[in-house]
């Protein structure tokens, strides 16, 4: 800031100043508001004149410049009013100590002269009277000082005197603002306390050792390439753009603008028919689904049909445990153990031996994180298995249909666009779209080309293609194990028997086509009810230079998990 003001005062590159005639006397080195604005715009490379004016006003508020002919200015305008620079002596950064005594002297000085020219303003008059009472013990000293300073001032040249006087007045106006104005110079109390209690940890041996350890750990952790991190950030933003009221507006209306709280009533925590947008959000990721009470509820209903509701129940209880008061933690830990993990528990969950051992160790010293490992495993299990099936289930489609019926207006949402989801518009039917999205969601980074090469994304599913695929579905018992990386997947496999995986479609045309696999499904499921819509969404042929770039979604989940 100060640098900026100094630049401004630079004789060549600074603001053009010239003497101006005011009240029969010259005020040298003054400049106009428009010149100031012009200079700021040029110097700081901003096109916004409002911003330039704002900066100028801030300079005035902080007392770097002051208006020449009047003191009653609240903001600086882009006009021909005159301003001058405050002398550096009065700059706030000098932190010239000023107290009531100084102010009293200043007022007294003005008061003495006021018989001839100026009259104190109302608030100054009150302040003067107050100070007189407050500082009565040294009032004589103050008067003497004021007289003395006035005498010295009289010996100066008239022009100098007026400038001095104006500068002083501007200074006090900033520091003792008239009522109703707040001073810009108030400082943050935190700053004052800051550094007072600075602990010199840096020098202790223990701290250095800790720092080295920390750095070593850091070196050993995996770091992602910026490009990948950035891609995933961008994907996140565009994926959620439609859910962001600031970006794409709200349906039916923003309560703050329309005073209509329908939006909030529609989106209360537990509702019978959630809105379509809300349901689509569940399709983004399992995390979104579980974060929403209604979503969790629907998911639990679905799992109940599949006889695996103990997973979600266990997950919920673990969440409850983490947010429980400390006093009830041991009790809760044992409750959960008895219910889900102990041998022969009423609703035992399926986790591998290693995790069970780890959990049992944690039990000896029950903490709120005792089931962390088990919970993560269950979460991954749901993510790989139940969640994709939930999104494909009739239950989910039914919900979506109901939501669309309830709010028919929203069906058209995709057709009037916000700029992000260009590719969404291509999908005529919402269901395959949701599916496709879900697939791309799970693989966080690897699938970016699907989005970016959106133009090239073709649903090259001709009728024959589709038929082939159905056959493949029915007759191939592809072993999906090759896609699984972690041990728990094998264990998963053993639970469900043979995996039935989608057979990679061989290209029909000259192009190389690879397939995006959807998470494996149970044999019985797929062979019984393969509908058209489903199979279209199952395999998408994407023209690609090479096949190997594609990674199955569940692998991606593992590799792209942050640290």
């Amino acid at each position: 800031m100060e640098q900026l003001v100094r630049d401004m005062q630079h004789p060549n590159s600074g603001i053009p100043t010239k003497s101006q005639k005011v009240f029969l006397s010259f005020v040298p080195c003054a400049f106009t508001g428009s010149d100031l604005a012009e200079w700021i715009r040029k110097q700081l490379k901003t096109d916004d004149s409002i911003e330039a004016m704002h900066i100028a006003t801030m300079m005035y508020r902080l007392g770097y410049i002051y208006p020449v002919d009047t003191t009653k200015v609240t903001s600086i305008k882009d006009d021909n009013c005159l301003y001058r620079f405050q002398s550096p002596y009065f700059w706030p950064s000098h932190e010239r100590s000023h107290d009531n005594t100084d102010y009293a002297i200043f007022l007294a000085k003005r008061f003495m002269r006021s018989k001839q020219v100026t009259i104190l303003e109302d608030y100054e008059q009150t302040a003067y009277n107050n100070l007189q009472r407050l500082l009565s013990h040294k009032w004589e000293f103050i008067l003497f000082q004021a007289q003395e300073q006035n005498r010295i001032a009289k010996q100066r040249k008239t022009a100098d005197r007026i400038i001095m006087d104006a500068q002083e007045r501007a200074f006090w106006r900033i520091h003792y603002p008239p009522p109703g104005h707040t001073s810009a110079l108030q400082s943050d109390i935190r700053r004052k306390n800051s550094y007072a209690c600075l602990i010199h940890q840096n020098n202790s041996l223990e701290a250095s050792r800790k720092k080295v350890l920390f750095l070593q750990r850091r070196l050993h952790t995996l770091t992602m390439k910026s490009s990948k991190a950035i891609e995933s950030l961008m994907k996140h933003c565009s994926r959620y753009a439609e859910h962001d009221p600031m970006v794409s507006g709200t349906q039916p209306s923003n309560p703050w603008i329309s005073d209509d709280t329908t939006l909030w009533t529609l989106n209360t925590t537990l509702v019978e028919t959630p809105t379509e947008r809300r349901i689509r959000r569940w399709a983004i990721s399992l995390r979104e689904l579980l974060a929403d009470a209604t979503g969790r509820h629907e998911f639990a209903k679905f799992l109940k049909k599949e006889f695996s509701e103990e997973n979600i129940a266990f997950w919920e209880e673990c969440e409850n445990l983490k947010s429980a008061p400390q006093s009830s933690v041991p009790e809760l830990v044992h409750d959960i153990y008895r219910k889900y993990l102990a041998p022969g528990a009423p609703s035992q969950i399926n986790i591998d031996g290693h995790t069970t051992d780890m959990t049992q160790q944690c039990l000896r010293n029950p903490s709120r994180f005792a089931f962390e490992a088990a919970q993560l495993q269950i979460l991954l299990l749901m993510q790989k298995d139940s969640y994709p099936r939930f999104l494909r289930s009739d239950h989910f489609k039914e919900l979506l249909r109901k939501a669309m019926n309830a709010n028919p207006r929203k069906n058209r949402f995709f057709t009037f666009g916000y700029p992000f989801n260009r590719h969404a518009k291509v999908a005529p039917d919402l269901t395959p779209f949701a599916m496709r999205r879900k697939e791309s969601e799970d693989s966080q980074v690897e699938d970016t080309f699907v989005i970016t090469n959106g133009g090239g994304l073709t649903h090259s599913l001709s009728a024959s293609n589709l038929k082939d695929f159905e056959l493949a579905q029915l007759y191939t018992h592809q072993n999906g194990d090759s896609h699984h990386t972690s041990a728990d997947n094998n264990q998963l496999a053993s639970r469900f028997g043979t995996w039935q995986n989608t057979a990679p479609l061989k290209p029909q045309g000259p192009k190389i086509v690879s397939t995006i696999d959807v998470p494996p499904r149970r044999m019985s499921d797929s062979s019984l009810e393969v509908s058209d819509i489903r199979s279209t969404s199952m395999v998408m042929s994407v023209p690609l230079p090479s096949i190997q770039t594609l990674i199955a979604p569940w692998e991606a989940v593992e590799t792209s998990k942050p640290l």
């Binding site: 900026l4 700021i40 700081l44 901003t46 911003e51 704002h54 900066i55 801030m58 707040t182 935190r190 306390n193 800051s194 550094y195 209690c197 602990i199 250095s208 720092k211 080295v212 350890l213 920390f214 750095l215 070593q216 850091r218 070196l219 050993h220 770091t223 992602m224 390439k225 910026s226 490009s227 990948k228 991190a229 950035i230 950030l233 996140h236 933003c237 565009s238 959620y240 753009a241 859910h243 962001d244 009221p245 600031m246 970006v247 709200t250 923003n254 309560p255 703050w256 603008i257 939006l263 909030w264 983490k322 947010s323 008061p325 400390q326 006093s327 700029p419 792209s560 942050p562 640290l563």
Partner: protein, 357 residues
């Protein structure tokens, strides 16, 4: 993902001296930097240039909440999207129904400069603290005298600068001028975990929104932001780059990155996975420190409050400023987007709060 190189220098357990350790730390730091350089293959602004620009923003002040007699220092939204708790320099804590612009509760704290306040997830409690070095919770009830329901939960050796509830009413995380953060059990007031690592006052904290919610980030006057594991109390990542104190930190809603607001008039975006700064939001015409920031629901927009009384809105990805909001008559001290992203609330030293939508 690229894996980091094997680190050969094993710590010598016996002859640890401060100089040797400092040397080793510097060594390791260099290696880390080197690695970051290798992995930094592309700039965010370059990649983001292919994105479509955001539609024009027309945020207008929809509510102006007047009632504080001092500078507003902190605000927090309730999960019901319309209630809000705010605290001010004169020791008042006010619970508002911002939607109808009414004050529902007013609490007088026994201290001035109430710098932290937080709304409990259940909506039945608020927590606040300040120069009294404590963080107290108040049950919100219909009766007039709320101070009878006050309970001190957290105790620091210096002022409490920020506080937030975890996902439940039962735990509070606080940051303090004594350079530590701490996790407290609300019911018993027990210290569950303390976090040592900053060299100066902690000014801002934010919880990770990712599912496990086991990490949080803190920023302080030592110009660095630290990421912590809540279970172990260990600092897992540190980020530097600012030239002055950090005033606020906020996670991107994805949980993979966070942004910091600093007195050096810039904001920076750090990515946890890439372990580095990936964007800096600064402009020559912005010469005042940034005090507070928040993201829109998708993370695409970054709202920043500045000491020059204005709020700037940035495009997080492209790193360009979209627009400025004027209105406050003193510095903007706090800023929060409502939980469903429909509104933005700013609090200022001009004693008022504004809800923009």
């Amino acid at each position: 993902m690229a894996s980091s190189g094997k680190n050969e220098s094993t710590p010598k357990a016996k002859e640890d001296t401060i100089p040797s350790l400092t040397r080793e730390a510097a060594n390791l730091k260099e290696k880390l930097e080197e690695e970051r350089r290798i992995l930094n293959d592309v700039e965010l602004s370059v990649v983001a240039s292919r994105l479509d620009p955001l539609p024009p923003i027309s945020l207008k002040p929809r509510r102006i909440l007047k009632g504080h007699q001092g500078k507003v220092l902190c605000l927090d939204w309730a999960r019901d999207q319309r209630h809000m708790v705010t605290s001010s320099q004169d020791g008042k804590v006010i619970v508002w129904d911002a939607f109808t612009n009414t004050k529902e509760h007013s609490i007088t704290m026994p201290t001035t400069w109430v710098m932290a306040c937080a709304y409990a997830p259940s909506g039945t409690m608020v927590a606040c603290g300040g120069l009294d070095n404590k963080c107290s919770v108040y049950q919100l009830a219909q009766e007039e005298d709320l101070s009878s329901k006050k309970r001190a939960v957290a105790m620091h050796t210096s002022y409490v600068s920020c506080s937030t509830f975890l996902n439940s009413d039962q735990q509070i995380l606080t940051g303090s001028g004594d350079s530590t953060c701490a996790l407290w059990d609300v019911e018993s007031g027990q210290l569950l975990q303390s976090f040592h690592g900053h060299n100066a006052d902690v000014m801002g904290i934010d919880l990770s929104p990712s599912e496990a919610c086991n990490t949080f980030v803190s920023g302080g006057c030592d110009k660095q932001a630290l990421v912590w594991d809540m279970r172990t109390g260990q600092c897992v990542q540190s980020f530097e780059g600012h030239e002055s104190d950090l005033n606020a930190v906020r996670f991107l809603p994805s949980g993979d990155a966070f942004a910091t607001a600093s007195d050096d008039a810039s904001c920076r975006l750090y990515d946890l996975r890439a372990d580095r700064e990936i964007n800096c939001y600064a402009k020559e015409s912005i010469i005042f420190g940034a005090t507070s920031l928040d993201f829109s629901l998708s993370g695409r927009m970054l709202f920043v409050g500045y000491n020059d009384y204005s709020v700037n809105i940035w495009d997080t990805l492209k790193g360009v400023r979209l627009t400025m909001l004027f209105g406050h008559e003193n510095r903007v001290s706090c800023l929060r987007v409502s939980p469903d992203g429909t509104a933005l609330c700013t609090g200022s030293w001009d004693y008022t709060l504004r809800v923009w939508a």
